[in-house]
């Protein structure tokens, strides 16, 4: 089945130690999004790629970076995780741009910072 896969499901990292979360998709969608979701809060968009075109949200901290080496894969890098970065990180895809298009989400990566 076509899907969005996030690895790992759970990630524990040390304070200040760089960490990378990965997302892959078999849907061949043009757009990939990264959201941060803290407990009982709305998912917050960090950035997205439209093909290779990177779009950062104005309030996304510089500590968060992303790479999309090809259509299928997208990575979220947190350069120096702080305790406040502990959250669920959700990857989503959509076929193209346009808010009439549904998102397909992965199962998320739960990040713990110790």
């Amino acid at each position: 089945d076509a899907m969005v896969i996030q690895n790992p499901r759970y990630q524990v990292t040390q304070f200040g130690k760089p960490v990378t979360l990965s997302c892959s998709q078999t849907l061949n969608h043009n757009v990939m999004y990264w959201y941060q979701q803290k407990s009982s809060q709305a998912p917050k968009l960090l950035f997205h790629y439209y093909d290779k075109d990177f779009n950062n949200e104005a309030d996304t901290p510089d500590n968060f970076q992303s790479r999309r080496p090809n259509t299928s894969f997208c990575f979220l890098d947190i350069r120096s995780p702080g305790l406040g970065d502990a959250a669920m990180y959700l990857c989503a895809t959509s076929r193209s741009r346009g808010s009439h298009l549904r998102y397909t989400f992965g199962s998320g990566t739960r990040l713990t910072v110790v």
């Binding site: 999004y33 998912p43 968009l45 779009n55 741009r97 346009g98 808010s99 199962s107 998320g108």
Partner: protein, 114 residues
Amino acid sequence: SQKIEQNSEALNIQEGKTATLTCNYTNYSPAYLQWYRQDPGRGPVFLLLIRENEKEKRKERLKVTFDTTLKQSLFHITASQPADSATYLCALGSFSSNTGKLIFGQGTTLQVKP
């Protein structure tokens, strides 16, 4: 600033009854409104989309209404079942930006009791 509000208190209903969830927004002119279901520790799953010029949309036991004058959407689940217990998120997209970005509410948790 743009704001999306969903009832943060959990909604508890008896099996077989109709659940009604509310999504209100301010300082926003959405062209589309989407509803997603999110189970604990999982990514959101798309349920329904409604356009600004549509008053109502149905899919099986689900019904969504969209009132751009009241700036509100209502999400109904008829003949609710314990399996419907989850958090339901509304998400808005606008015409003003064609990036396809969706802004999410924080969700309302529904508990259906047998």
